[in-house]
Every structure is written in C-alpha cells, then in structure tokens.
Amino acid sequence: MDENIPSVFVFAEQVDNQITPVSFELLAKARELAEKLQCVVVAILLGDKVEDLVQPLFTYGAQKVIICEDAALAQYRTEPYTYAFSTIIRRYKPQVVLYGATSIGRDLAPRIAGRIHTGLTADCTALDIEEESNSFMMTRPAFGGNLMATIVCPDHQPAMATVRPGVMVKRLPDPDASGEVVRFELDFVEDHRYTKILDVIKKEATTKHNIQDAKILVAGGRGMKSAEGFQILQDLADILGGEVASSRAAVDTGWQDKSRQVGQTGKTVRPNLYIACGISGAIQHLAGMEESDFIIAINSDSTAPIFNIADVGIVGDVFKIVPKLTEAIKKERE
C-alpha cells in the first residue's frame, strides 16, 4: 500500500476473533467521509490468527485492510495495541481515525492520542466534512447531553473520534467486495507498561438478546415502582417479540440489570418501536433513544419531558393501560 495515499482509518475491534458490530457501523460512516475527502477507507485489524475477519470488513465497506497479527495481541491489552496502532498511524499518516466508543476503544484511543500528540473527540453523534474548508467536524453531546458541541482538530493529524455503538448505521453487506490486504509485521518487546492478564471472567448473560439488536423495546422507569412492576412490560415485550429496556433510575434501584439500561451512561438504541412506560424522560435517557423510529410514551404525569419527543403520548396509568394493551394485541394477533 502506498504510504502517501490519503485515508480514513477504522479500528476493526475484535473480541474472541469476532468483529465488534460498531466497527461495521464505523466503516459505513468512514465511506461517506472518504468520498468527500476523496480518499480510501482502511480497516486496521489487530489480533492473533484473525485472518478470517478480513472478508467481513470488505463486505461492510473497507477498501483496504491492514492486519497485524501477534500472540501479544490475542486479547486486548492497552500497551501492545497502542504500540501497534500508533506505529501503523505514523507509517501511513491517515487524515481521520475512528474507534468504537466501547470499553476497549475508550481505553485505547486516548492512549494513542497521547503518544502521537493529536486530538481525540469522544462519543461523537455526528461526523462530517465541511465542504469549503474540507475540515473534519465532530459533534458530540456536552454537559450530560444538555448541549451539542462541534469540534475540529485543525493543526494535528490524524483527527480522531470515538463513536458509540448504535449511533451510525451499517451498510448493506456486499459479500463480493474485496480489496488490498497489507500485512504489518512488528516485534513486540514487553516493557514495564505491559499488564498481565491473570484471569478472564465472563459475565453471566442476563439478557437473552442485546437491547441494541431488538427491533422493539418496551422500556420502564421509576414509574414501574418495583422489579415486579416490570412483569407487565415483559408480557408486552413478549407478545410484540421485543425486549425489555430500562431507564437509569430503574437500574440504580436494582429493579433491572445494567445491561438493559438505555441512555447517556447506558446504551444507545434506535429500534423501530420504543414504548416508554413510567419514564419521565431525563435528557440523559432521551440521548440514548430519541433516534428510535416510533416512540410511544405512557406516563401519568402530563408534563413529563418524554412527551416532548414521543410520537404518541398517552397520559395515564401504566398499570392499567399496559395489561389491557397486551390483551388487545393478543386479540389482534389471533
């Protein structure tokens, strides 16, 4: 690969030799940016024996793949990943680098920004190229989602950004897509900055499905009053073929598992249907779900902010409405 070709880099994050879905979402965004910048999208794949993951990267929009394989990269650790990625950046000098705002991406990206002395913008919700100046505009929520800020990185290269999962939309897969694969060889020498993995403990799967994959979400908040109160939401979700989600309030009280939390400190979702029950609609919650295609809110407080973004707002008692709604849908289905 010619080292002087302008490019947009995407960190192709993999865990247990599986590409993290946000990487595909980033590839789609990167293609849009690359068209405006007239450059190519390059996926950076780090790991050990991860060659099988190259094709899916092309399928979802990568035009080139740089792959670096070593036993030191088998499981994510900050130092070998920082070393590998920053060496690749220094060699190929991309204009833009995108990372998923995952617990890996948010660990790796600031370390790289420090090492190569460039800017990094966290948790972007919009990325664009300004037409006249060709500058890369990164927009992110600030002040807990109360304000949006657009940020540039004028004097340092590359401009780097992290994007939360679920914010961008992946392309339709093209299984015939292909491109150049570059093998990047590196020697890894352990120094004092290397950490040692003593053990890996998998979390118990508390959700059957990831709420980010669900097409329909039935979400509950403080208004559900107890863990048991969520049962009527589960019944509705079951009949609709959806999943139960939760506001932060219902997680903090222990009624719901953190993996179901939607919002600023939880997950960003954009299902086809989002039914918000007993959720007042704090700005931090709205930040995680306002991109849903169709939002129905049921709340007894007619002034709840959730009604400002709901397509359909029902002022009423969730405990009376939801069970009847489940019954009505059951009848429709019969």
Binding site: V15, R77, T78, E79, T82, I104, D107, A109, P110, R111, G114, H117, G119, L120, A122, D123, M137, P141, A142, F143, G144, G145, N146, L147, T150, I151, C153, H156, H192, R193, Y194, T195, I197, L198, D199, I201, K202, K203, N272, L273, I283, Q284, L286, E290, F307, N308, I309, A310, D311, V312, G313, I314, V315, G316, D317, I321, K324, L325, I329, E332
Partner: protein
C-alpha cells in the same frame, strides 16, 4: 505507599436546565460537586490507606473555587491537597489537561495514581489514560476492584461482557468506576479540620514543569467551533382519555406503522 488521586469539580449535570426561550444553558444555581467517579477513586485510595497506611494526595486542576472539592477530600481523609489554578491553563482539552496534570504529578512521589473513569460534564474518559501516557506508566481503566500485592496492583477490569483480572507493576494509574465502592461521608470533625486547619497548596503556571505549547487552549489539539442546544424533534400527539380509548389508540397507531 503514596497514592495520588485526581479530582475534578463538576457542575451537577442532572441539575442543568436549558433556557427554553434562548436555548442556552442555565448555569445559575447549578451546584458544583466532586465528580462521582473521582469520589470513588478517592474512596479506593482511602481504603488502601486504612489497610496499608498509605499517604493520599488529592490533586485538582480548575478555577480557585475548585478548592472546595479538595477541602471535601481532606474531610474524607486525604493527607495533602494540591490545586493547579492559573488562567494560562484554561480552555484545555483532554490532551492539554492530561499533559498539565502529568507534569504536576512528576513533582510528587507516587506509587499509584487513581482517577475517576470519566467526569459527568464531559464523559470522555480520556484524561486518566492520557496522564498515564504522558508519564510513561501503565494504566488500567474501568476498575471494579483494586488490590495491592507487594509491588503489584491487581485490578478487576470491566468490559461489556466480561472482566479481566489485570496485574501491573507500580507505578501505575487506575481509573475507577463508581461501582468500585460506596464513598464514605465526611466526618463532622473532618469537615471542621478541613476548612479551618488544612492547607490546600496552590500551584500556578510557573510551578508546573510543562511546555507552553502543551497547556491551555493553545496546547489543545481539539477546538470547539460551536455549541448549540440539542434540537428536539417535534412532539407528536398527546392524548388524555380513559384506559380503553388509550389502548385502542395505540393499537390503531401500531397498525398504521405495520407493527401489527
């Protein structure tokens, strides 16, 4: 063992409101608090102090008012407190902030540096790893458990679907999740002493061994070009009627959307 805890004073973003007419932030009356993740980092340091007799240094950068979170740190049990405050540091992005804090830390002896994972007014989670990079020490982020074993630190590091038990040799920087612990309250005696007897050491520009090009607005690779209130989509229809009609209305809408 010397532990440095980096603490930020933040506006309580839960209390921030938008002026519905002007569309700007209403900052008046918004309380300033110790950033919650940083408080957990401080608590973790204090627990290690209880266990091993460590010395805990609280460090903050910000305007002079930020002194109050350092007084709070004293009242919880910190041994020394330092405030980096100078107009020349203002406007710093996460890169310049990390560079300044790292330079300040080189003035102190340390084995362990603790920071919160992220601050609630920025949510970037970049400053902890950034400080570690500038100091050339390892970091472990998203800590849910911190143990000391001789010269080593063992951390339970949270990921989306798993934990890693990670080991690093000190000096090391660890970023704390609020799940790490339940921070202790200030004691009445502690409060009294913290505000009456304790000294918060103030460091200005000349006290920090860092290049002019790596601080403040000028030393920040990223620049904010504009801020604007979030545009909310237009509200839809809101109805207030009896249960049966409500249910019927929803069912109709779901049919319109081909969900039923």
């Amino acid at each position: 063992m010397n532990i440095i805890v980096c603490i930020k004073q933040v506006p309580d973003t839960k209390e921030v409101r938008i002026d519905p007419v002007k569309g700007t932030l209403i900052r008046q009356g918004v309380p300033s608090i110790m950033n919650p993740d940083d408080k957990s980092a401080l608590e973790a340091a204090l627990q290690l102090k209880d266990q091993f007799g460590a010395k805990v240094f609280a460090l903050s950068m910000g305007p002079l008012q930020a002194e109050s979170v350092l007084r709070e740190a004293y009242a919880m049990g910190a041994d020394e407190a330092y405030l980096i405050s100078d107009g020349k540091f203002s406007g710093a992005d996460t890169w310049a902030t990390s560079s300044t804090l790292a330079a300040a830390i080189t003035k102190l002896d340390y084995d362990l540096i603790l920071t919160g994972r992220q601050a609630i007014d920025g949510d970037t989670a970049q400053v902890g790893p950034g400080i570690a990079e500038h100091l050339g020490v390892p970091h472990i982020s998203y800590a849910e458990e911190i143990r000391i074993d001789g010269e080593k630190v063992i951390v339970k590091r949270q990921f989306e679907d798993r934990y890693q038990m990670l080991q690093a040799k000190m000096p090391v920087l660890v970023t704390a999740l609020s799940e790490l612990n339940q921070p202790r309250y200030m004691t009445p005696g502690g409060i009294f002493e913290a505000w009456r007897d304790k000294e918060v050491v103030q460091w200005s520009r000349d006290d920090i061994p860092v290049d002019d090009g790596n601080i403040g607005l000028k030393g920040s690779p990223t620049k904010v070009v504009k801020t604007y209130p979030k545009t909310m989509k237009e509200p839809g229809t809101k109805i207030e009627t009896d249960v049966d009609e409500s249910v019927q209305y929803i069912v109709e809408k779901l049919k319109e959307k081909y969900i039923l």
